[in-house]
Amino acid sequence: MSEIENKTENGSMDGAGECAAGEPKDDKGLGLGVIFFLGAFLICFLSGWLLFPKLLYSKHEQPFNFDHKLHTEEAGDCESCHFFREDGTFSGIPDLASCMECHTDEPMGDTEDEAIFAEEYVAKEKEVPWFVYSRQPDCVYFSHAAHMMGENAKGKMDCKTCHGPIGESTTSRPYEENRLTGYSRDIWGKNIWGIKKNSWDRMKMDDCADCHVEMDGHKGYCFQCHK
């Protein structure tokens, strides 16, 4: 029943009585309002913090688990697999051919994951459809060479500065994809507020710019990082 209808019904009653009976009613209403307010606040607040991130991101498991630690122990540093090509471009995630410089369709070790790799990919000559945590959108141009080898790469950055201690990981965490943008969750960062503690926690434009300002004194020009 609406407020207006309420008033119309009460219109036949005398004015004084309505006034006297009105006040306690209001108090009661306010109390209920506060409860409703608090309830809704709590639900929305908690959903915003807990449910929203779960809804916003879809999770994908990697094709199989990858043990970075094992590989760095066996093969050496990051650049053994994530190398620069002769033309200066960065190879990124190794393709099957690179893996097969060591691996064959016979597993070398005895992990279940390597068996999957050998059977499903090496034997079938199929590229592994890895999800790339650090994948930037198409409009971004990023030169690994400029950051690691260029004369302006003050101090010559190491992989960890942007990628974190991924080389020490023994398991592949699930890849989380933003349902709205299609970006990897690593771009915004794990923290839903986008708060970062480490240099590798976020990979948004402002994070690039912060470092550029610090190193070069200015953010750089659009084309430096966009295509």
């Binding site: 009661k28 409703f36 809704a40 709590l42 471009t89 959108p137 409009c139 943008t181």
Partner: protein, 706 residues
């Protein structure tokens, strides 16, 4: 307890406050702005390792070296190959756009059979057995010579393999589409003896006297001409362009000499007359009535007479002749436009005679009379009785244009079967209606086209060819170049569709036919065939990607036979009626023959050439009485009528209408076809007696307000 307005208010406020102190707002604002930048339908090309592979473009006889840039083995760009002996890094727009041919909407994606008016896809096995069955019928009926071939590629082993197939089959009926290469061979045969061709050393000449040759319109080996032309300025060499219209070549030349269309031969002979009269010629091994020729030209082609015919002033003719004779390394170049269609032997011979009189044969910077020694070494074909009988027979007629007329004129089929390879006669030959009629007179037409073009549509079976990016092939340079370079076209990708190298299709056919035909084509694949027949140059081809077969001025000076010109052959006149003359224009941005242009090429065409779906014709404002610039007009010739738009151009001779070649395609490709009209629909052929060349340089026409 009562739930009232305030409760709802509380609920709303609480929800809002709850959301506000959660990350939802910040995050969604950011994400939604990103969302608006990343539409899922905007393609994201895959990144990967960059590599470059070399090949040779075979879209035209230019045979330029190309470098194909690939990303993760996926071709993304074609560029000119630096230091390649033909084009040295230069490349035309058709070559650059070559990747568009791979996914051309008009591509034939599998073998096709015509069923009524429609084509239906069939398998290669079905197609081969269908065609070989039909051919066996033709052969068994005792008329193997009624298998014909129309091909567009002048050289190379695939064309040679086609000829070999016809030889073994027992048919001499091999026809080539008109080409500069063949026109030059015929000229050389007429003047210097059979088996020769002519190359022009544009790179070294210090005065190029071009009789309308579109050196930057796609004449000869286009990029070689471009390079030579560009270097001309640095060498302080000159280019004089004789042409009725200020073409790109004329605009780029040091001098433009406007001339009435179709009178180039008269001017060339007029120049010869001046050289003879002023004794400025270099005597050589002249025979076949040189004195008679000297007398005829001085009488019939005296400067005043030539002025009346050509419109070039007598005084200018004399000056031009003297300049040509006095230049250190002059060369005269024949072949209006691209030098293929609408040419006549008289003109080619007259221009080459000018080179002979100036002593420019086989001299650096002159005209080379070359013996195009075939590098191909096919083993002896095995011939049965039918083949031997066919080999002894004469061709039905001389040229492809005469073939079309003969097909139409005869009540009985002149040909029972016809192969069409690398050609689109139903679009490219003059009076296309006539050509389509002739195709209907052939009971069984087999097309080897990559695209569903006009001729493929007029055929009964299509055995689709892989494009030049999907196959291996040897491609020799075509006409006019002063050297012969054979390039190797290499597959840059696996065939995208169910297509084959025409060589492979032919080998399959031969094997299905059995007998001596199979024995003559006893290779497992075309690639194997090429390796064998390329013989001496295979190593160079496979290692360097090309082999230079001949280079530099040939030894000795060839004799010149004057008997053809001494008989003073009549000049070809334009047919039809009307007060204006319609001439076709070669524009480098549009392909005039097969294959048709790409979407990129058509995109570059000026709106003063193509406006929406209307073709725009050029006319000098002086002639355009009652017409408006950019307005509509009706163009009428004896062949047909077209609604056109008009472009006032001061760079075209009054009385002449210029219409670009290469538009008006009618196949299924919305980016290229259905635009403008085909100039060949409006011009009928005029066959030059003797040479069989379609000499129609234009047609009389009227142009009136629409």
């Amino acid at each position: 307890m009562k739930i009232d307005r305030r409760s709802f208010l509380g609920l709303g406020l609480g929800a809002a406050a709850g959301i506000a102190v959660s990350p939802v707002g910040v995050k969604l604002t950011d994400d939604s702005s990103i969302w608006t930048q990343n539409w899922p339908w905007t393609p994201v090309p895959e990144d990967g390792e960059i590599s470059y592979e070399n090949s040779v473009c075979s879209l035209c006889p230019g045979s330029c070296g190309i470098s194909v840039r690939k990303i993760k083995n996926r071709p993304v760009k074609i560029e000119g190959l630096d230091e390649y002996p033909v084009n040295d890094g230069g490349i035309c727009l058709h070559g650059i756009a070559g990747l568009q041919y791979l996914y051309d909407p008009a591509r034939v994606k599998s073998p096709m059979r015509k069923n009524g008016d429609r084509f239906e896809p069939i398998s290669w096995d079905e197609a081969i057995s269908l065609v070989s069955g039909k051919l066996a019928d033709v052969r068994d009926s005792g008329a193997p010579h009624t298998l014909g071939l129309i091909s567009g590629g002048a050289g190379g082993s695939v064309t040679a393999l086609f000829k070999r197939f016809l030889d073994a089959f027992g048919s001499p009926n091999v026809y080539a589409m008109p080409s500069l290469e063949d026109n030059l061979s015929l000229t050389a045969a007429t003047l210097h003896g059979a088996g020769n061709t002519i190359g022009f050393d544009l790179e070294n000449a210090d005065l190029v006297l071009s009789f309308g040759a579109g050196l930057i319109e796609g004449w000869g080996s286009p990029m070689a001409c471009f390079k030579a032309n560009s270097a001309r300025r640095d060498r302080h060499a000159k280019l004089y362009q004789i042409e009725p219209r200020l073409s790109n070549t004329a605009a780029n030349a040091d001098r433009w000499i406007p001339i009435k269309p179709g009178t180039e031969a008269d001017l060339a002979l007029g120049l010869c007359a001046v050289l003879l009269k002023k004794n400025l010629f270099t005597p050589g091994e002249f025979f076949g009535g040189f004195n008679r020729f000297a007398a005829v030209v001085q009488k019939e082609y005296a400067p005043e007479k030539v002025e009346a015919v050509t419109g070039v002033k007598a005084a200018d003719i004399e000056k031009l002749a003297v300049a040509f004779a006095k230049a250190k390394m002059p060369v005269a170049v024949p072949g209006k436009g691209r030098g293929d269609h609408g040419q006549n032997l008289k003109e080619f011979a007259a221009v080459q005679t000018l080179n002979a009189l100036a002593g420019r044969l086989n001299k650096e910077g002159g005209a080379f009379v070359m013996n195009p020694d075939s590098y191909l070494a096919f083993p002896e074909a095995s011939m049965d009785d039918a083949a031997e009988a066919g080999a002894g027979q004469e061709k039905s007629v001389g040229s492809v244009n005469e073939l079309v007329d003969t097909l139409n004129a005869s009540a009985k089929p002149v040909l029972n079967a016809l192969f069409v390879y690398n050609a689109n006669p139903c679009y490219t030959l003059r009076d296309t209606k006539r050509v389509k009629e002739a195709f209907k007179k052939v009971p069984f037409v087999v097309s080897f086209s990559s695209f569903m073009d006009e001729t493929a549509m007029a055929s009964d079976v299509i055995l689709p060819a892989s494009t030049f990016l999907e196959r291996l092939e040897d491609v020799p340079t075509g006409g006019g170049l002063a050297k012969t370079v054979v390039g190797l076209t290499r597959p840059m990708v696996n065939p995208i569709f169910d297509t084959k190298n025409p060589g492979d299709a032919l080998i399959l056919l031969a094997q299905a036919m059995g007998g001596t035909i199979a024995e003559s084509c006893a290779w497992d694949t075309y690639d194997e065939c090429l390796e064998e027949v390329a013989g001496d140059i295979w190593d160079a081809l496979s290692e360097d990607g090309y082999a230079v077969v001949s280079e530099g001025a040939p030894m000795g000076t060839p004799g010149t036979d004057f008997s053809f010109l001494a008989s003073n052959p009549a000049s070809v006149q334009a047919g039809g009626n009307g007060d204006l003359l319609l001439v076709p224009i070669d524009n480098i941005r549009l392909a005039g023959t097969a294959p048709a242009s790409t979407p990129f090429a058509v995109k570059t065409v000026s709106d003063r050439v193509l406006s929406g779906t209307d073709i725009v014709v050029e006319i000098n404002p002086e002639t355009a009485k009652g017409l408006k610039d950019c307005g509509y007009a009706v163009l009428i010739t004896s062949q047909g009528k077209a609604r056109v738009k008009v472009n006032f151009n001061e760079g075209i001779m009054p009385g002449v209408i210029g219409m670009v070649k290469g538009l008006g395609h009618t196949f299924d490709n919305p980016y290229v076809a259905g635009k403008g009209v085909n100039v060949n629909d409006l011009i009928g052929p005029v066959i030059e007696p003797g040479s069989g060349m379609d000499a129609a340089f234009g047609i009389k026409a009227t142009l009136s307000k629409a």
